[in-house]
Homo-oligomer: 238 residues x 2
Amino acid sequence: MTYELYYWSGIQGRGEFVRLALEDAGADYVDVAALPTGDEKLMTFIERGDLVRPPFAPPFLREGDLVIAQTAAILMYLGNRLGQSSQEETERLWVHQIQLTIADVVGEAHDAHHPIGAHLYYEDQKAESLRRAMDFCRHRIPKYLGWFERILSRNPQGDAYLVGANATYADLSLFQLVEGLLYAFPKATQRALVKAPGVAALHERIAARRRIREYIESGRRTPFNEQGIFRHYAELDS
Amino acid sequence: MTYELYYWSGIQGRGEFVRLALEDAGADYVDVAALPTGDEKLMTFIERGDLVRPPFAPPFLREGDLVIAQTAAILMYLGNRLGQSSQEETERLWVHQIQLTIADVVGEAHDAHHPIGAHLYYEDQKAESLRRAMDFCRHRIPKYLGWFERILSRNPQGDAYLVGANATYADLSLFQLVEGLLYAFPKATQRALVKAPGVAALHERIAARRRIREYIESGRRTPFNEQGIFRHYAELDS
């Protein structure tokens, strides 16, 4: 069955975490955002009155009649099918727990430039962003990356991946998180990565995976920009 | 096996979502926050160097050697064991997807009084809170409650519960979310509930469940206060 990934066009956003999982698995999927009328299709679909499980927001995945929203839930579902999780229940839950923590960082990275409200422009909350981003750069990024480093160092099967001996969707997402943080807050993130060498190595390891490299080199990956979650405003990187 | 729930004492916070699931199921559990040295036990545990799966933050659940953090992950785990989820995989995922959206609202409810940083006092970010809370009250609460209302109205098995014909952990959490919002933002929440009568009815339905009622009347439930996630500052309720 072909998967359909629905997300906004023009940004990586939360959809990119799902896209990386699909790409790394070589899964057969339609990237609705890449279609000429992708955003329209998304809006038409989400507003359908006959959806028993309506998504609150994109991204969402369709597989036949099945519709799943919430990035972490999509990845859990795909992970079991694409071989990007564990076979063992409590280890699956551990992968998911890590993913939920990545989702928390992503939310905070967004709020660093939108601390007041998502529907307002950055320019209308710039003073507040300066304060929030300082907290994010000085306290939150190091704390989160330190936790990922700790997990890697304690993995009984080695520090190459977060869980077990192979890459899971959580590793792909941590790669994307580091990519996004490096784009948005290069100074703060480089500083934090010095103290989290295992995370930095994992980031390189995932970037070197054949299908991830092919995807990035394909030109299909939307570049980071100032419409997405990870935005580079030099004044916020401290 | 006895469950141990670790969370900070003195507040309901995210721990209360887990507590309500354990209470409603009549599960055998130790509420570490209720012990005289609960916070100390929590700190000692989380700092252990031998934890292969260290929690990033409380709440976390222990069951023998198993340690699970992230509220939604804990509830998914417990839900399967306590009969508070579905037997069917995609329906389980739907319950979880709803829970993740509840977690998003909880995060936003927290940030309404802490838009700049969790480690700063409210008083040091009051101006920013006034702006953020206005957005939360006027746009986000109605949008989220409207989505829960839509789910209830589209449930093929009736609008008594979010998923299927019985209460799941998502229903218990939605009860707690409404409780928290009514405490923190009574005016905005009452206004939104008028347009979400199914959510208001679900809130009453869960409150009337025997074990939930007994728990609330037991005096064991920590009252809402201005240290937790749901804080009532009259100036923020608009």
